[in-house]
Subunit: 267 residues, 2 copies
């Protein structure tokens, strides 16, 4: 099966020991494409029921290094869902208004409402990743955030939100190839900024920051999933399957209708 | 071609004189489906360019009587776009916080940002439709709203938003059939409320309210399009084509890249 890598709450992980090129031998590009299409049809129907039921929500969190494919996953694994049932929020550098509040303020505003699938392209985790690597706040401040995030996620979970956190795991070499491809392709060059190279120099710091975030926030209610992402088709397959299986496990139901509707004839 | 019905700014219209069953003889269910698929592929690519360009936005407004197919249009004509480039906002009964502001406050907050396609499922027009039919505010108040809406839409247009306003036009008989179908189908019955029958009794009031809104807010910058909607496949075809043609006319461009990127080799 095409499962993400998971690990026990409380245990540490070493990203260097998880192979980002891993694929399940059962699948190839062609069969994956077909399965993604099938997943989309199933998820679309379940999303409709989730909306009709209007009791619970799904929050899919996508995190990963630059070029790990957060946009590409949305484009490939999630296109084909009814856009009315998905709300995507991309978290960029916080605005000055956002910085004037606690770090979860802008996140909380974007949480999906009942019946919806919310997708976070980056998330609350940026505040223990880029913020930590660049020392944007003192260590004592970012260090307390792991617990604040766990509490926040528990609040959401208790409120009926199923949280699916995906770390798109790529290798250092794969990032090099993808950045070079952006530079070499005139249609993609607009995405490249020289700042990307400066960030790439911080690779070990980012990996360490991810390892700690994955370790400290891998709770029973909202576990992390590590998605081997060097191969785009496999990454898309795993995320698309994960969403489908999440919705299947939730098994949303069309709600009962108003009482006394039997026999009504519309005039 | 599969064009919506349009009319000159300033001129009045009589909805009873526009045939909601109209289809263009060139099309049938099968060819329409194929064309919608093709439209989606073209719009998806153009939406990507719109996002990359990051200068302008599209706002698609869907209005229509109950059962006219606002949800269905989104589901059929817009599924297949990258959900990251579409933000859908469904305006329901205003909350008490929303009612504590002017009627455009909640609308303004939901306007698409640069690079996005925003879709309004209901809109600012509810405030001259349901509000008027049910006398929720005094006539002098709703009557001034047409001009406020025109001014608001001009503000958006000048800010780079192309507004596409669609009125999904169905017949009284078609609504009867659709409401009855909801009642008769256990999978759809949850959508039905006895309040729908009370609203249906106000059909002539709603048609008059629509005629006035279409007339007064049919500006050069943001014209109304009337979509013959008794046949769902034709409605979907017309809206999907309209979105494609709007994006084609905007012709968004991939932006230039940062200067001095030539010859960079990523290490």
């Amino acid at each position: 099966m095409c499962r993400p890598v998971t690990f026990k709450p409380g245990s540490k992980i070493r990203l260097s020991q998880i192979d980002p090129r891993k694929v399940d031998g059962e699948w190839d590009k062609v069969t994956a494409k077909e399965r993604i299409r099938e997943n989309t049809l199933v998820s679309r129907e379940l999303a409709y029921r989730l909306y009709a039921e209007n009791r619970r929500a799904v929050l899919l969190v996508l995190q990963g290094m630059d070029t790990s494919g957060k946009d590409g996953t949305i484009r490939t694994a999630l296109t084909g869902l009814n856009p009315q049932s998905c709300q995507i929020t991309s978290f960029k550098q916080p605005s000055s208004e956002e910085l004037d509040h606690d770090f979860l303020w802008r996140i909380h505003k974007a949480v999906p409402r009942r019946g919806e699938i919310g997708i976070f392209n980056r998330s609350q985790y940026e505040d223990v990743l880029v913020v930590r690597v660049h020392n944007l706040v003192p260590e004592i401040e970012w260090r307390s955030r792991y617990e604040r995030i766990n509490e926040f996620e528990r609040l959401l979970t208790e409120g009926g939100v199923t949280i699916v956190k995906c770390f798109l795991h790529i290798s250092y070499e794969e990032q090099r190839e993808r950045l070079q491809a952006r530079l070499d392709n005139p249609e993609k060059r607009w995405k490249f900024s020289t700042g990307d190279l400066a960030e790439r120099k911080r690779w070990p710091d980012y990996q360490a920051a991810y390892e700690e975030a994955l370790h400290r926030c891998n709770t029973t209610e909202a576990p992390w999933r590590i998605i081997p992402s060097d191969r785009k088709w496999y990454r898309n397959l795993v995320v698309s399957t994960l969403l489908r299986e999440t919705l299947e496990a939730m098994d949303p139901k069309i709600p009962p209708s108003e009482a006394g509707l039997e026999g009504i004839v519309v005039e």
